[in-house]
Symmetry: C2
Subunit: 353 residues, 2 copies
Amino acid sequence: MTTTILENDLLLRALRREPVERTPIWVMRQAGRYLPEYRATRKQAGDFLTLCKTPELACEVTLQPIDRFNLDAAILFSDILTIPDAMGLGLSLNEGVGPVFARPLRDASSIKRLAVPDPEQDLGYVMDAVRTVRSALSGRVPLIGFSGSPWTLASYMVEGKGSKEFVHIKGLMFEQPTLLHELLNTVTKSVILYLSAQVQAGAQSLMLFDTWGGMLSTPAYKEFSLQYMARIVSEVKSQHPETPIVLFTKGGGGWLEAMADTGCDGLGLDWTIDMAVAKARVGDRVALQGNMDPVLMSTTAEAVQVGAKQVLSSFCQDGQNTGHVFNLGHGIQPNAKPENMTALVETVRDFCA
Amino acid sequence: MTTTILENDLLLRALRREPVERTPIWVMRQAGRYLPEYRATRKQAGDFLTLCKTPELACEVTLQPIDRFNLDAAILFSDILTIPDAMGLGLSLNEGVGPVFARPLRDASSIKRLAVPDPEQDLGYVMDAVRTVRSALSGRVPLIGFSGSPWTLASYMVEGKGSKEFVHIKGLMFEQPTLLHELLNTVTKSVILYLSAQVQAGAQSLMLFDTWGGMLSTPAYKEFSLQYMARIVSEVKSQHPETPIVLFTKGGGGWLEAMADTGCDGLGLDWTIDMAVAKARVGDRVALQGNMDPVLMSTTAEAVQVGAKQVLSSFCQDGQNTGHVFNLGHGIQPNAKPENMTALVETVRDFCA
């Protein structure tokens, strides 16, 4: 990786809690189905996994929202389940159904048999996509790499698909915690290698998506999700101290202090927690990323403006915009209107604390 | 309603934060599909709504878990959507599908046309069920009446069914808030009459289920859900000051202080928040009800014992068990094992702070 001087490093400065001229903005799932150009490329690819696994196409969709909206960061177009896919669980992603694994983990032997994937060998298409995007960006904005959290990956691996109750993974947690820790250990080692390789390939910031940590009780969250994210933060930061890491636990508003204790640089917040309350709780130990309700993006531009200003003002109640990265509280939905993204970006750009 | 001296008034004392010999326990959806005797009565009734609408059968299933497990409270067997059903929206409840309304509210005229149901006239079967259960209990344990919260009822009425994103109701909220307030007003008036009538018919404690309030941002929660629950608490308590009211917002762990400010007697907690943390935040202003992860009920008796003790100890960290009502953090699931309920009840009974 060669060091490029960034034309726009607002994201990195915000994540370091350094002063910024204005609040940077990017949006989770910004390269997605709400964009006609994305749907066209996706159609060309045939299916979602082919799109992920073809670096040129992944690069194309990664850059689409940057070109259209002038966002302040690009996030690698990929899926959170690439690691279990590389472990041989047989991933398929079908619209309307969500991810499904052909071979979910249901016994000790299938868990003990799992090997840690080598990122360049077994997930080379991801590293190629990072290099391709990084080169295509040529320093316009930083590139964010990411992974699912160990708990979230393990949930999909054990359930075999999305879930509401998480009966299988929680069954393992309550009845065979040692075996689950073994699985989480293997996944954690894999995530550490995977994120470090993304940085080596060119990612300038990292994010851990803990989509399902919020389904846990407080002690279970700390033992089965946060503990492993903390290890990832510690190991990846010891190798790449300059690369900021953001943790996002959906539904994790009750655990912000403990999340900040991991030594991460920023916390992603869903829309249910008030920015001012979050900021008061974690102080300036970490940056905060979020947190407008994504449903607003399918309403009107006026409603988007009101909603965005509410988030911005809540963060700036103390007159300080340092350490805020504007985002939605969850991924943008397929029914979002592209013109509302324009309105959103303008509102965030024009906002003065 | 005649005043009966209760043989077991632990629930009422716990909700008044009075000393108790031991922590009372009941379980949300305790009369449910995990019980073979429930499935038999349900089969006899034919379908769920007939079961709700036949007071003798509703009474039978209400008492089944009391007879089998010696729980400390009975909760009326009914559905949270009886009010919109009485308003003419055409409710059907089908296993595996969840509730569906034939005529969801999608325009101003259908909202403005809604009439407030008269409880004895339009929901007489509920009041008859309350009277039948109360008489059948003959003072063994208190009877809990309940309603869905205005926000939760309105969500179902506007979406027409369960939802993940709540695009329709949130669209109304963001684009036509005045119209949504009109709907919430009508529903709130209906809930007040409905709960008061339940008390007059014999309910000795009340609970408001706000299943979907946790899908809102903090300002939206306060304006569109909590405000209306606060009005219900205030009006029902002015009419029935002796009847405790418990508010339960699933995913509402961030708003406990504001919920306690309504003047309610207790807060229901889902399993994601730590009892000790919740208690430290609300002090002894309200009782706390909950909050074991319901998934435990489908695992082993040993795991249930560990989980139950964790909740009990968390509440009693300060050596005080005053003001705790043991419950699950959400309704018990169909795949729960009845023998685990036995283990749970025994563990709670035997626990000493």
